[in-house]
């Protein structure tokens, strides 16, 4: 059950260049949250900027809702100024999260795509002795914060991370799809049965294609401009494989890759 409330900011700290970790007091939302779901967050009480911003739930811990966000434009810039104690109108949890029933899930994150993936990892760590993540970053400099975050919050012995970086400064030089291809080719017969992916659109597209090629189920967490977040405005249309559109906020943000028309998107 989703609900709307004025969530008090517990903390809102930079964890890296242009990347912040926001913690909100929103027990009712945190308790109901499942990995892959998101919330809508109003960054200003006034009419400007007008619309709420969607953010994945990065964690839900003791009544606190964690959001990991990157400064992109005026809304996220304003958000950095939200002081502890101030209140932000928040509604959620929203949308369809990851289906975490797979036997041998493989997580794939690109850049800020880690935000929801981290929540999924926590969840899966309760279920499996080993959780595998392939993580693509630009490099240690630009994504130092994310890498630190993994080393820290997700640094459980159970999480096995392999990195790729565009500049070669960490892990394999190249794209995360290179890692994925390698993984598919070498992990036989224990090839993953499902890939759970979040990241930039070109990455998701490449991941979806690769999964199709290797006949592995694939769930992608997609972004679209959103107004309502609750399925009412029809603004967040994602072209569907069968023609027509799916709503990122309702049939998504996590969608089976096979349901998406990756050509039109």
């Amino acid at each position: 059950m989703s609900l709307s409330l004025k969530a008090k900011v517990s903390s809102n700290e930079p964890v890296g260049p242009e990347i912040y970790l926001l913690s909100l007091e929103a027990p009712a939302i945190a308790d109901a949250a499942r990995p892959g779901q998101f919330v809508m967050l109003r960054v200003s009480p006034g009419p400007e900027p007008l619309l709420a911003r969607p953010f994945s739930i990065h964690g839900a811990d003791g009544g606190k809702l964690l959001i990991l966000y990157q400064v992109k434009g005026k809304g996220t810039k304003l958000l950095t100024q939200a002081c502890p104690g101030s209140e932000l109108l928040t509604w959620g949890p929203l949308g369809r999260g990851f289906d975490l029933t797979a036997e041998r899930p493989l997580l794939v994150a690109g850049g800020m795509g880690v935000a929801p993936i981290a929540f999924a990892i926590e969840y899966l760590c309760n279920k499996f002795d080993e959780v595998r993540l392939l993580c693509g970053v630009a490099g240690t400099v630009r994504h130092e914060a994310l890498i630190k975050l993994f080393a820290g919050r997700l640094g459980s012995a159970r999480v096995k991370i392999r990195y790729s970086s565009e500049d070669g400064s960490i892990g394999r030089k190249g794209l995360v799809t290179d890692l994925l291809k390698e993984h598919f080719s070498t992990s036989q017969p224990l090839k993953p049965d499902t890939v759970l992916a979040c990241g930039p659109l070109p990455m998701l597209k490449a991941v979806a294609l690769l999964c199709a090629e290797f006949e592995v189920a694939c769930q992608t967490s997609l972004e679209a401009p959103m107004a309502c977040g609750v399925g009412a405005c029809l603004g967040c249309a994602i072209p569907a494989a069968g023609g027509g559109y799916l709503r990122a906020c309702q049939e998504g943000p996590v969608m089976e890759a096979s349901l998406v028309d990756w050509e039109k998107i």
């Binding site: 009419p47 007008l50 679209a224 399925g231 009412a232």
Partner: protein, 311 residues
């Protein structure tokens, strides 16, 4: 809060517990917002525009934020009449509050057929004809800019609607909406609602492309409130003189109970809350409560407030 004042109004042939309705296209089919509003908090809702056939709508991007506003080019995506009757209307009928069905046809005949089939539904309280959508090729705004066409569409719907009140939703993309309102009234509409969105555009200077795939879209939100107020005042004044039994439903940029009061003062009998619901899913209920508080403070009923502008 139990308002000390009478908030009930009868508008366009429909009795409402309070004058705040949710606007078409911004409240889905009602159920989307049920987690956020107390049952009975608002006077009722206007559904997303229903067409005879399901419509997929325009390609994305469909929405973009602008200064104190937003553009949308949804393209009247909707589940279509059959699906609406089978799966949306039954739930709505069980809820307290009026159900106004917004409908959209590509021809006079389609409007008539929609009115006929929807008019036959006991759960439907009124029909709102969308002759003002800026985001579709056929019908829509093309109808809404000509009094003759508005009259024709309205007459056809009224004939089909089997006594169900017909409201006509007017476009702001005209010099003066009063002739359209008078044409609708003349043809038997019991209310006109205005304003729909202003035809507008946004450009990405980085890519030099339109920000909407549809190139143009409709502007809504607080930015347009001054235009909405002006048009409601123009239309209410014109109707008062020539068709005093035909009501005005005002909308455009209403974000607070005070905004709603302004529309009533300008001459609206009820208001609709649109884009505000996107900025706060409980907005429509909050606005109804704020309006009641304002009326109590001012010592007027909602009906008395209507048209009380002192010029």
């Amino acid at each position: 809060m139990s308002p000390a004042t009478d908030m009930a109004v009868t508008v366009g042939g429909v009795r409402l517990a309070n004058p705040v309705l949710a606007a078409s296209g911004t409240f889905g089919y009602g159920r989307e917002y049920s987690p956020y509003l107390e049952p009975g908090a608002i006077g009722g809702l206007v559904t997303k525009g229903v067409s005879l056939q399901p419509r997929a709508g325009n390609p994305p991007p469909r929405i973009v934020e602008t200064a104190c506003g937003m553009l949308n080019a949804i393209g009247l995506a909707n589940v279509g009449l059959d699906e609406f009757l089978a799966h949306k209307l039954p739930w709505l009928t069980e809820q307290p509050g009026a159900v106004v069905v917004n409908l959209y046809g590509e021809s006079v005949g389609e409007f008539a057929e929609l009115a006929q089939r929807l008019g036959a539904q006991p759960g439907v309280d009124a029909l709102e004809l969308n002759v003002s959508c800026p985001n579709v090729k056929e019908g829509g705004m093309a109808f809404g800019c000509h009094p003759g066409a508005v009259g024709e569409v309205t007459a056809a719907a009224v004939a089909g609607a089997q006594g169900k009140p017909v409201w006509v939703k007017l476009t702001p993309n005209v010099s003066d909406p009063a002739p359209m309102a008078l044409a609708a009234a003349q043809a038997g509409a019991q209310a006109v609602s205005l304003i729909n969105t202003l035809l507008a555009m946004a450009i990405d200077a980085g890519t030099r492309r339109p920000k909407l795939a549809n190139v143009v879209g409709g502007l809504s939100g607080p930015a347009i409130k001054p235009v909405g107020l002006r048009m409601v005042w123009q239309v209410a004044s014109a109707l008062k003189a020539e068709h005093p039994t035909v009501d005005v439903v005002g909308l455009g940029g209403i974000m607070s109970g005070i905004d709603a009061a302004e529309y009533l003062i300008a001459g609206a009998k009820a208001v609709q809350v649109g884009t505000a619901s996107f900025t706060d899913p409980a907005a429509a209920g909050r606005i109804a409560a704020e309006l009641a508080a304002y009326c109590t403070e001012q010592g007027v009923s909602a009906a008395e407030l209507s048209g009380s502008l002192r010029v």
